[in-house]
Subunit: 350 residues, 4 copies
Amino acid sequence: MKGYGITSLEHPSWLEKERPVCGPLDAIVKPVAVAPCSSDTHVMHGGSGEKVNLILGHEAVGEAVEVGALVKRVKPGDFVVVPCTTPDWLAPGIQGSLYTAHDDGMISGYKFVNSKDGVFAEYFHVNQADANLAFLPEGVSPEAALMIVDMMSTGFHAVELAEIGFGDTVAVIGIGPVGLMAIAGAALRGAGRIIAVGTRPASIEVAKSYGASEIVSYRGGDLAARIKEMTGGGVQKTIIAGGDGETFRQAVEMTKAMGTIANVNFFDMKDALNMPAFVWGLGMSNKDIRCGFCPGGRVRVEKLMELVRCGRIDPTRLITHKFRGFDKIEDAFLLMDKKPQDLIKPIVYC
Amino acid sequence: MKGYGITSLEHPSWLEKERPVCGPLDAIVKPVAVAPCSSDTHVMHGGSGEKVNLILGHEAVGEAVEVGALVKRVKPGDFVVVPCTTPDWLAPGIQGSLYTAHDDGMISGYKFVNSKDGVFAEYFHVNQADANLAFLPEGVSPEAALMIVDMMSTGFHAVELAEIGFGDTVAVIGIGPVGLMAIAGAALRGAGRIIAVGTRPASIEVAKSYGASEIVSYRGGDLAARIKEMTGGGVQKTIIAGGDGETFRQAVEMTKAMGTIANVNFFDMKDALNMPAFVWGLGMSNKDIRCGFCPGGRVRVEKLMELVRCGRIDPTRLITHKFRGFDKIEDAFLLMDKKPQDLIKPIVYC
Amino acid sequence: MKGYGITSLEHPSWLEKERPVCGPLDAIVKPVAVAPCSSDTHVMHGGSGEKVNLILGHEAVGEAVEVGALVKRVKPGDFVVVPCTTPDWLAPGIQGSLYTAHDDGMISGYKFVNSKDGVFAEYFHVNQADANLAFLPEGVSPEAALMIVDMMSTGFHAVELAEIGFGDTVAVIGIGPVGLMAIAGAALRGAGRIIAVGTRPASIEVAKSYGASEIVSYRGGDLAARIKEMTGGGVQKTIIAGGDGETFRQAVEMTKAMGTIANVNFFDMKDALNMPAFVWGLGMSNKDIRCGFCPGGRVRVEKLMELVRCGRIDPTRLITHKFRGFDKIEDAFLLMDKKPQDLIKPIVYC
Amino acid sequence: MKGYGITSLEHPSWLEKERPVCGPLDAIVKPVAVAPCSSDTHVMHGGSGEKVNLILGHEAVGEAVEVGALVKRVKPGDFVVVPCTTPDWLAPGIQGSLYTAHDDGMISGYKFVNSKDGVFAEYFHVNQADANLAFLPEGVSPEAALMIVDMMSTGFHAVELAEIGFGDTVAVIGIGPVGLMAIAGAALRGAGRIIAVGTRPASIEVAKSYGASEIVSYRGGDLAARIKEMTGGGVQKTIIAGGDGETFRQAVEMTKAMGTIANVNFFDMKDALNMPAFVWGLGMSNKDIRCGFCPGGRVRVEKLMELVRCGRIDPTRLITHKFRGFDKIEDAFLLMDKKPQDLIKPIVYC
């Protein structure tokens, strides 16, 4: 079968591979729509280490075409929503924690692109179909579901990590699709003032529609200093959804004592997360620094779809570009890599 | 000075009392606007036990006219927002808990009407003015602040107790002003489907505008059975904002295993909270049953005002009746007691 | 094969049944040692509803004699520790909660005796062997492991539900094996004063050795009143590990505002959990009422065995009677049912 | 009056100062016993910035000799236990958080040595005496109380921040008095294996008596690598109670995904807390990094004294050197600064 990915780092390409084999608990899914993500381009550029001959893609909705003998709930022909994180629910990391992305070691619950081929393929494999695949409820569009499986789930995880309380002042650094979802999630979680940091015009408009109170540019002097000035001393909660090691320092510094910094940004292997001790109150500030990976499983996605169904949020505002045809995956992926000013998120109908 | 309250149970009346004395940490406040609450009428009818010669009222915004020698922040002439709960922050119950209503014993942080005269007076006393009085920020109306000091704070406390997660299905029993605020708070906290239980037309309209997905009547058969049917087995979170002992049983029963029941309803001394063991899974269901009283202090009110200022919520939709003139407190109070169909919340400009 | 259980309610008996079939994820285990529990006798007497022709028993350590084709970790011949709760980890109730006993509905993660035959058999079935079976580490005896799988896990779950903080005053009602484990767990969690309620001499001695500060009898006047007097107003945390509907009322009443009541007692279908509204502060007290069922899975048991291995606790003090031989299960079970004064917990080496 | 402190950085000396003035909510206390702390020597060496003419010391038990007009509970002649952190309970940082050390800005609740003279004086000032001073219960020695006010409270705060669960594997870096208290606290909170890192023989013995399972030296190769090897991949919780910026990196690295790093070490203004992104799982690991300062107030100290009174812990094992006489404060302080091998904690009877 055909798939799109990399032959080696920096070499995106169409690949020819065997159709994946369906285990007894698993499903084989044919994608109906997929979306490239900057994590896919990150992999291509080597941000996650050496990879060869790998099909990319981890955001998809599709049709189950085959299910294993032990699968009870999902049936061939079902339209399925595929979480980007599909844990092995029988692994020990699931027990005693809600952070299901680490089923049997760090981020091991994230399988696509990480430990197996991704979803930019004629067929892809989903482990433990009953636990990992969700059905589309009436009132939720496939496009909305596609924005939920990683973007909304990851952005909302940032909000959960930040433990936002009613009326908290929140800074969100980065207004790519995950940052935008973090803004929407913060507003939907009862944040008061939300200060978004970013510059891309298309994103700024959506940021405001999702509840950003103000937009601050990365440019114009030290970000931490400016946000501390705007807020009379700092924010209660800071979400990092973009940036590098220096962003980390700024995030800790702009957060007040007893506040929380929540990171869902994928730092690069080369990044160093450095902070002078004083920005953390010499280790005495009661500032929590948290990070996380998108939780997995069907219930996560079902809960987020419920928010869409009940009209609490419309994640399709992220979609700026639509492609039609399986072979347009390449164009969408290369667009994601180039990141023109008017892009937030492209999708491809297969 | 003049105040409105009760000479004894069931005898509402204007009273003549001494102007309260200002302690060194305290303030004397002249009300600008007040709102009667069903807790005030509850007191009149003896729901909180025997009371005589007591000025009622615990929801007010006003002007500080005198402050004690040790008060640093509040000054005479300041327009102040008065939380209904004004804890003694030096008491031991404050330390080690966020439930500040119990500063030195159960609900002792609630002073007005409870351990001293209320706010339906020419002047009223506020203990620890710097810790308990908030200022009105630009962008928040006095009417909005007046709806915050008890109604929104209590309704939102229910939401906090319920520990609502993104996409949770929530039932809110009772759509008086506190129930309506609980609906708004649940929507603002990321609830999915919100099922509101009530029948008053004026409230139903506001409930929908605040985010209720459906309205269910108290009538039409066992409430728990109907909600379990509507939801395929029960809701994740139930908020009790009205009702009696039977409501308690229904609330526990309509909630799924691992769910939470959060009560902010003031039960009557005569109520018995009875449940057959099976509705609680014979004591094995991991259903949490929680209750609470409106937290106190200025920061609570400041945070909630921040939500209004940032446009996240408009609590003034609760206000259905406005009176002008200090002596209209009587009319407003008697209206609250009668509860006509078109009433949600009356206010009085003094 | 042979098993011990009930032909119908009130009719304990040896039964002849087919050896259970091993599914692809499962294991068949031959018991090495088992322990009867009052939950087993409860089932015999109909406390959990109608049951016929059912093998009893849910506390066992044993030898895996057969494993399914998809089992990777457990092998035939392995000595295995069997949690009393063995959830289906692929079910939706696992996702988004740590209360794994409710995998697909209330208490459905508890399979033995509940939805299938128990462990008092020549062979018994364990679903999802890799996720549910633990290995015995060096330094932990089989007897200790046998006391962990339900007694210690359930008693410690009570402590977790009670959210005991350093120095909290705790009441534990009931000093059967679960109550004793709750006492030990409370001490090991940093409780200050622990007041245990019970009368059986054998248990009293063990209660003291596990950290009970004082022992109070059920007799001698209203329990809530006496404990409130002893503590100057009530305890911060109350654990219910025995009793009936009246115990529930007492537990809520003896707990201070902002405190927690944690129940792990299996109430009877006929019990009514009744409280006058005032013992709950008319619904305003911020007293949390929680309950739960023993969490499942191998990691739970591994963590508790780690406590034994590191010398933090010795759960074998519960064992007062030892039987040798598979056919002594009957004697042990009937002893458990009779509950002589010197009994805490019997075990049977098979 | 006479006090011991610094005339300027690096110049410890006896000072002559005015006796402090007692405000209406405050008390003047005469020390009965005090203990120097490495935070005092840290101040002398400039670790907290420029300081001149300051009396040092923040650990004391004493006798109240004067109380303000508004003080109700404490009376002259009372023996009082003085928390090292004495928040202004009327300040806004108290409201909405349990981290009371930040009453009106970062660490502002820590007054002694920080914003006013310390306790190495004939008389010292305690703000808000009723909220901040505790009484010594029967069964607790003054020496035990003296070890509680900072050492035990800070060490136990580390344990609270680490959110230790039953059976968790914990690393404690540093076995000075705070690290030792963290070990004791971890054991008392239900930790399983506790790996302590340190080399001082006197401390090692006490560490073992408090529950350390193993002692690891700082020397012998990369600490993170060694602890990961010992534990098969890392610990669940790491407590930092000593060290520098490099310790921070090691702590994050030795902690597993979904684990927590809790710091109570006072880093130096010159320290840089640097970590390569990969030790934090590139920001995806769900490893929480937390820090904090000793919480304040009487209830905190009362709860910890309850642990001593009930025989759960004996903090006096920290005391290795006792001095008699107010003027021996100098010797004790200089000993603390020199840190001979046999020193854990010195105290002075005044």
